[in-house]
């Protein structure tokens, strides 16, 4: 069943050369990981820079400058309020990252412990959690966002929370299936035989060993959240003006299609870059974390 590709240890001394080089070779980040990380890095850097500096104030309207084509002064042109599109795209990255982080954060913080609990306590409690999860599964994030928008008022926060809650089931499922796998391993049996409490086992063994899967899921859901926020903004349920948001910029640019196409290009490209970055990152991480996928590189 198990294969051993390592050299024999005639002397009882660790055998660094073959194993570690083999490891390092295998662990070399794939091209996807590199591209993904670079794209996300780009978005993150832009977001950080925009916190302290943007070419123009992204919220100040200048009636005289409205709808100017890209130029040296305004690289990406200006919108119908005379605001600098580049500045808005830069500042919009904040919202994008925020939505992603909070939505994914909520899903992780709630979903992962629930999933681990369900995986470790496979009795009634586990069943109950997974049933609840199934119920939540029938409520896609978009539905929640629409209803929450009505209850709490539409806006970035509502969208983030709704998308976060909507992706709890995904994380709970991943965490549970990972936990089930880990709980079957001999090292968990060994830990139990060593009298470790369930909580410690969850913390020391389960969490670290499912973290890879969780991270992959995170990056996937990050992309989903960014797209969903854009979709919500399109419906008018996302980020509210004047806070710049790529989704809303794209939505607003719609009526200028055909005459001021540049208005759609910048935010559209930005969304694509961010989502593509997260997806590639997720794929790259999956290749690294999932040993089954490794041999394939």
């Amino acid at each position: 069943m198990t294969t051993h590709l390592d050299a024999p240890d005639a002397t009882g001394v660790p055998v660094p050369p073959p194993t570690t080089t083999a490891r390092r070779k295998r662990a070399r980040p794939g091209i996807q990981l590199i591209i993904g990380a670079s794209l996300i890095g780009l978005v993150a850097i832009v977001a950080l820079v925009s916190l302290v500096w943007t070419p123009y104030d992204p919220e100040t309207t200048v009636a005289a400058d409205r709808l100017q084509f890209p130029s040296a002064a305004h690289w990406f042109g200006t919108d119908r309020f005379g605001r600098d599109v580049l500045s808005a795209v830069m500042a919009g990255s904040q919202i994008t990252l925020l939505v992603g982080f909070i939505a994914v954060g909520i899903a992780v913080v709630v979903g992962v412990p629930l999933g681990i609990l369900a995986g470790m306590r496979q009795g009634r409690l586990g069943d109950l959690i997974m049933r609840g999860n199934d119920i939540l599964l029938a409520f896609p994030g978009l539905l929640l966002a629409i209803v929450f928008g009505a209850v709490f008022g539409a806006g970035t926060v509502t969208a983030m929370v709704a998308l976060g809650i909507g992706s709890i089931p995904a994380f709970a499922r991943v965490a549970r299936s990972g936990t089930l796998q880990v709980m079957k391993t001999d090292y968990v049996f060994a830990a139990r035989a060593a009298n470790r409490s369930e909580f410690r086992i969850a913390l020391r063994h389960v969490l670290p060993n499912i973290s890879g899967m969780i991270v992959v899921q995170c990056s996937v859901n990050f992309g989903i959240a960014v797209l969903a926020e854009a979709g919500l903004s399109f419906l008018g349920l996302g980020t509210m003006p004047p806070t710049p948001s790529w989704g809303r910029m794209l939505q607003e640019s719609q009526q200028f299609l055909g005459s001021y196409d540049y208005l759609a290009i910048a935010p559209g490209l930005a969304i694509a870059v961010a989502v593509l970055g997260f997806n590639l990152l997720g794929d790259g991480l999956r290749d690294r974390f999932d040993p089954k996928m490794r041999s394939n590189r």
Partner: protein, 602 residues
């Protein structure tokens, strides 16, 4: 096809992955009807060689040299996939190691066998279906017409391997390649499959390339053997010659480490490192003696030592003097009427909850200081029993008392005492170590719960470090290991880490579930030696599970034989091996290939 005087001709086969050479200048030829074995430890390049012959290597590897197969024209290396596909399954066939995964799970096995004929148009579809049933019959599958309609998951491992064989033989290939076809099977099943392979190739005059790491198996099937080490064939010759007069030290090492009946002056098994003191010629003589022993069960097997550097004794010797003392000691483990029934959650949608009676009423005692072996085929309940003994699983009924703790209905908190006195070593050395923890943390983990310590007081970090260092030293790992991670160690070393973790709290009972089954022969001897030493040193009671009779025989003084959740026979090791009382035990002993045995018959 008839004109060829060889089944396969391999010349200067070299396989490289980037700058690494996996197989280096391998040359051999197999005549029609000839049976050639390829042995070597894990990673030596056996599988790469065989897949190269079949033209199934991944594109990432590059090959040079030449491979010709009877009826396959000239050099096959570098030919297109389509070209090679025409030969695969007709001129040459292959049986793989894992019967569980080698068959398409979604296709009825009859169709899978028939397919190989329809692919090569050696039979019309209807004809192929009919012949498939006949082939299944040929390979000894019961009720072949029914079996043809079964899906792989409805067959046992041995049955699936027979299906694979039926498939491989369907088009009467000139060459049959078997890559460890029986490694995943029970000994009794292994014997049947080996017999089948032997019969099939002899009947059809097929050339056989048989890959295995088990020297006894190769001896029982093949006429000639190639010994491979690190991609190079280091020795080649008739079985008889190579196994009794090995020329290469590596071959000698393999032989020495495989021979669990031979010990050196210190009563320890030979390892590759100490193989110099091993005399392979004894195999031949031993085999003769063995035959004698079987003939007259009452006589003990005791062959006088011949080699000057080695005391050759049957394995039970090192512990035999202790055995008498043990039998009077009070039981440390007492099992009465133990049953365990698993209720499997519904398999799939329409499945009903299946009940598996893993244990059906076990009674036995293990006394303090005893070395208690448990053997039995796969699924007989060995691991289940160990899990219950170590308090990781609850008995369904019956009483289990370990070190004075009754496990029946015990809650987690009642098990403190048990956990402190009993520790486990698992089969898979990689799987039992958390890949994300350093070796130091792994070994120290049992120390973190004060309840595990004799003193009952939490150990300080410094104290823990000291205990871990001490323990690592004991199992023969350098102190620097604490900072490294499991994947940086070899299989044998990982098993040492596992043992260190089990012993760091000084338990009284050590439970080992097939601790050497996943290891290469060369490493197996080292770990067994280490276990024997530590058991002596710490005065441990050992409960040792294995499906390998030889290993149990070497290490244990009492053996229980399990089958289908029951113990069919218990007794002192020697007695049980020499005079098996139960039919099943007898089968087991006979089915286990030993070098001595097979060389004798060869």
């Amino acid at each position: 096809m008839t004109s060829a005087d060889f089944a396969v001709d391999v010349r200067g086969l070299t396989v490289t992955a980037g700058s690494t050479t996996l197989v280096d200048d391998v040359t051999f030829r197999i005549a029609p009807g000839e049976r050639v074995g390829l042995i070597g430890e894990s990673g030596s390049g056996k599988s790469v060689t065989s897949t190269a012959i079949m033209g199934l290597l991944p594109d990432t590897l590059s090959t040079s040299g030449s491979v010709s197969v009877a009826g396959g024209g000239d050099n096959l290396l570098g030919k297109s996939d389509a070209r090679l596909a025409r030969l695969r399954g007709s001129a040459m066939s292959m049986v793989f190691q894992e019967p569980m995964t080698a068959l398409n799970p979604l296709m009825r096995v009859g169709r899978q066998v028939a397919e190989i004929m329809t692919i090569h148009r050696t039979a019309s579809p209807a004809e192929a279906d009919r012949r498939a049933v006949a082939l299944l019959d040929d390979v000894g599958l019961p009720n072949p017409a029914e079996t043809a309609k079964a899906y792989p998951h409805q067959l046992s491992g041995g049955q699936r391997q027979r299906v694979m064989l039926a498939m491989a033989l369907a088009n009467d290939p000139a060459l049959l390649v078997c890559d460890e076809p029986t490694t995943a099977l029970d000994v009794t099943v292994q014997k049947q499959v080996l017999d089948l392979v032997l019969r099939a190739v002899t009947e059809r005059g097929t050339g056989l390339l048989f890959i295995t790491h088990d020297l006894a198996v190769v001896a029982s099937v093949c006429e000639r053997v190639l010994v491979m080490n690190a991609g190079v064939v280091v020795e080649e010759g008739p079985i008889e010659t190579v196994f009794t007069r090995p020329q290469h030290p590596y071959t000698r090492g393999l032989l020495a480490a495989s021979d669990l009946t031979a010990t050196d002056a210190g009563g320890r098994l030979f390892t590759i490192a100490t193989a110099a003191g091993y005399d392979p010629a004894r195999l031949r003589r031993d085999a003769d003696a063995e035959t004698a022993a079987v003939d007259s069960p009452s006589s003990t097997v005791r062959t006088p030592a011949e080699a000057p550097a080695a005391v050759v004794e049957p394995s039970a010797a090192p512990v035999s003097e202790a055995a008498d003392a043990v039998s009077t000691a009070p039981p440390i483990v007492s099992v009465r009427g133990l049953t365990k029934t698993y209720v499997r959650s519904r398999s799939g949608l329409f499945g009903r909850a299946a009940r598996v009676e893993a244990l059906r009423g076990l009674d036995f005692d293990i006394r303090e200081g005893e070395r208690f072996g448990i053997v039995g085929e796969s699924g007989s309940g060995k691991s289940t029993l160990l899990r219950i003994l170590s308090g990781l699983d609850q008995p369904t009924s019956g009483d289990v008392e370990v070190v004075g703790t009754s496990l029946r209905g015990a809650k987690e908190r009642d098990l403190g005492e048990l956990r402190r006195t009993l520790q486990i070593v698992f089969q898979d050395p990689m799987g039992s170590l958390d890949p994300r923890m350093s070796v130091g943390d792994i070994v120290a983990e049992p120390l973190l719960n004060p309840a595990n310590l004799r003193s009952g007081v939490a150990a300080s970090p410094a104290e823990r470090r000291r205990l871990v260092a001490e323990m690592l030293d004991h199992v023969g790992l350098p102190a620097a290991s604490v900072e490294r991670f499991p994947h940086e160690f070899s299989g044998g070393q990982r098993q040492r880490i596992s043992i260190a973790r089990a012993l760091v709290c000084r338990p009284r009972v050590l439970v080992a579930d097939e601790p050497v089954s996943a290891l290469d022969v060369s490493v197996r001897a080292q770990v067994l030696n280490l276990l024997a030493d530590l058991v002596d040193e710490y005065g441990l009671t050992l409960v040792f599970v294995s499906h390998d009779l030889g290993v149990v025989r070497h290490l244990c003084d009492t053996v229980a034989v399990m089958r289908a959740g029951e113990i069919v026979e218990t007794g002192p090791t020697e007695q049980l091996y020499d005079a098996p009382a139960h039919e099943y035990t007898r089968q087991l002993v006979l089915a286990t290939p030993t070098l001595q045995h097979t060389l004798e018959n060869a």
